[in-house]
């Protein structure tokens, strides 16, 4: 009886090993490539850094820094050089490097400055940082920074948190349309803080903490969505008294706001 149980267990494990021979114990089952974001990328960056291939920040964003590091690793270990972490590459990486997931995630959550080189005690590779983990929050189009996202999210939340999602994307799009227009300053910060430009700046509501929805709205606008169809201004028809704003050619109304040129 005992012998047959042992035999069954051995058979089951053996079958599983034969069925999934290439599945690494580390990482998830996904192929990881440029543009990816999240825990798999954090592990990839940490393992590449452990082996000395990756010298950048471990932030979970698969950008060009990670891409070149991965290609160099693939070249050195005789793997196909494509900058994509498939099962072979992941198996090789997992086999020759260590990864302390809990420690790495702890550093990111605390916003610490840290590295993950092999052969150096982890305690020597970390120091207290800004206390936020914002760098892992989002991937933005190359022309925008996280500071832009933060400022715009504050403005969108302060100006239009009661509006439908479309209306929030629209407010963000107006800021970006102004950035393209010769009639406005050259930076997002200057546009938002131009005296009289936004009510939320004048009444201090811009300093409220924006929610995830406002950030997502800004992200969509930064990625090209413009529900206003190129508007440069908007106003609330119930409260606007300026003759000038009423003289602008109007495009459409979303929620409480009329958008215009």
């Amino acid at each position: 009886m005992v012998r047959s149980i042992i035999l069954s267990v051995v058979l089951i494990f053996g079958t599983l090993t034969i069925i999934k021979p290439d599945e690494p114990l580390a990482f998830s089952g996904q192929t990881i490539e440029r543009g990816a974001f999240g825990d798999d990328v954090i592990e990839l960056q940490a393992r590449l850094q452990y082996l000395g291939f990756y010298k950048g920040k471990i932030d979970g964003i698969f950008g060009y820094g990670t891409y070149w590091a991965l290609r160099n690793f693939q070249e050195q270990y005789g793997l196909g050089i494509d900058g994509i972490a498939g099962s072979k590459t992941k198996n090789k990486l997992a086999g020759i490097s260590d990864y302390d997931s809990e420690w790495v995630h702890q550093q990111i959550e605390k916003g610490n400055r840290f590295t993950y080189y092999g052969g150096i005690p982890l305690a020597q590779q970390t120091s207290a940082g800004a206390g936020t983990s914002e760098s892992t929050d989002v991937q933005l189009p190359v022309k925008y920074s996280e500071r832009d996202l933060q400022l715009m999210a504050n403005a969108v939340y302060g100006e239009s948190r009661g509006e439908p999602y479309e209306g929030q994307v629209a407010v963000a799009a107006v800021i970006l349309n102004r950035l393209e227009s010769p009639d406005f300053p050259n930076s997002i910060s200057e546009i938002i803080f131009q005296p009289g430009a936004f009510t939320a700046v004048a009444d201090g509501q811009i300093w409220l903490t924006p929610n995830a929805r406002a950030k997502e709205a800004v992200l969509d606008a930064m990625n090209g969505w413009d529900p206003t169809e190129n508007a440069l201004y908007y106003f609330n028809p119930k409260t606007a008294t300026s003759k000038w704003i009423w003289s602008r050619p109007q495009i459409k109304q979303i929620g409480e706001h009329i958008f215009c040129y």
């Binding site: 192929t31 991937q139 990625n223 969505w225 169809e229 109007q250 979303i254």
Partner: protein
């Protein structure tokens, strides 16, 4: 009774002290803000004067080095002036006119320095120089009151609120508008660019609201039979479109569809999305390609994918010609949920009116080893069409180059394929 009077006196005294402190604080704040505004005003006035002198000086030189030096100064001063003027609490109209006029001078200086078109610069700036002098004088008159002894923050507050016709900047604004139209008329390329942006050339047959909803449902079957609210764009809109708002279950969103031709401009849907992904990057790519083919977008190629917490954002560009060049201005953006691969957004505004491609533009080869410094490696080379600063569509090389020093800093460099002008350099993170 005595105690009550005593307590009341203490309360009145405390309240008096408190209001005195608040008033003092407010006065202090007002004085600080007024000082900052006055400082910015002085800076703006000085920069305007320096800009006019610099434009005047540029008319002195024929020598290329001397002239380029002055053009650099003009570009820098115009930017500084724009920054300063935008920090003043002027009315929107006054501020816009200044930013546009002085921005045009700066852009013109940069364009002349980049292209060596000095003759055109000299011709145009002879008039601009006179106009700047006149504007500078008018500005001095208009701002004189802000330096009077009894000037206060209220002066600034009233300027910001007044209509331009009632403000001291009435004359300077009218002249800025008039000089702007005569000194910097739109070029043919700029005019074309604006027309295209405004979709004014559409001549397709008009569709009805119902047909617009049908189009949307064919494209996005997930919202079939949703509750719709359809409105038409305002009468002033440069091109008419239907604004369709929909709600179906947890999905709420909108779509804009042109009245002429029923082209989808943009669509965006909001619904709760799980953060954990069940769909791989490869699957997202395949699903998007399939969706776009089914929707009739058959000439697009994915050029960028970005994953975030809830969704993937994909950028696509139109592919043309035998060399499969990417036309970036004819781009489409797609948003896809991470949890199920559902299409959450489509932005095809730029794709509706396609660019006219100049097939005759020459492609001269570039020796990248000579073009870049040693220690730079070029990994990807692709032909693309993109607009230069003058809004002309040019065929260009796009290369991804990176330093081989271990830091792997990477750049996207766009170079005109014919004259090898550098159109754009982007730092890739």
């Amino acid at each position: 009774m005595k105690s009550a009077i005593y307590l009341l006196s203490i309360a009145v005294l405390a309240l008096g002290l408190y209001s005195y402190e608040v008033r003092k604080d407010n006065e202090h704040l007002e004085q600080t803000v007024q000082a900052q505004y006055t400082n910015a005003l002085t800076n703006a006035s000085e920069k305007l004067s320096t800009l006019q002198q610099s434009v005047s000086q540029s008319l002195l030189f024929q020598d290329q080095v001397a002239l380029n030096n002055e053009l650099d100064n003009i570009w820098r001063i115009s930017n500084e002036f724009r920054s300063t003027i935008s920090s003043l609490p002027l009315s929107r109209e006054v501020s816009n006119e200044w930013l546009r006029y002085v921005g045009n001078i700066g852009e013109e200086a940069k364009f002349a320095a980049d292209n060596g078109n000095y003759e055109s610069w000299h011709k145009r700036m002879t008039v601009v120089n006179d106009n700047l002098q006149a504007l500078s004088d008018e500005w001095t008159v208009a701002t004189a009151d802000f330096y009077q002894n009894d000037a206060s923050i209220n002066e600034w507050a009233s300027v910001a609120e007044k209509e331009t016709d009632e403000s001291p900047f009435k004359s300077v604004t009218a002249n800025l508008k008039s000089y702007g139209e005569t000194d910097f008329p739109l070029t043919a390329s700029e005019s074309d660019w604006i027309k295209k942006k405004e979709l004014q050339n559409l001549e397709d047959e008009e569709i009805t609201k119902e047909q617009a909803i049908d189009k949307l449902e064919v494209l996005i079957p997930d919202i079939k039979d949703a509750n719709y609210t359809v409105s038409k764009s305002k009468d002033d809109a440069p091109y008419p479109f239907y604004h369709i708002q929909f709600a179906k279950g947890s999905r709420v969103g909108y779509a804009d569809i042109t009245v002429k031709g029923g082209f989808i401009l943009s669509f965006l849907s909001e619904r709760p999305v799980q953060e954990k992904t069940g769909v791989t990057q490869q699957e997202i790519r395949e699903q998007v390609s399939q969706f776009l083919k089914d929707a009739g977008y058959r000439d697009l190629q994915i050029v960028e994918m970005r994953e975030n917490h809830q969704a993937w954002h994909l950028s696509l560009a139109r592919v043309v010609g035998e060399d499969k060049a990417l036309v970036y201005p004819d781009g489409v953006q797609v948003k896809v949920s991470k949890d199920s691969g559902e299409l959450l957004g489509l932005n095809a505004m730029e794709y509706v009116q396609k660019e006219e491609i100049n097939e005759d533009q020459k492609v001269e080869p570039i020796d990248w080893e000579a073009f870049f410094r040693p220690g730079t490696q070029v990994e990807e080379e692709q032909l693309i069409y993109t607009e230069n600063e003058a809004f002309q569509l040019r065929k260009c090389y796009q290369v991804i180059a990176h330093f081989t020093n271990g830091k792997n800093e990477t750049f996207r460099v766009v170079v005109d394929a014919e004259n090898h002008d550098v159109i754009k350099v982007e730092y890739m993170s």
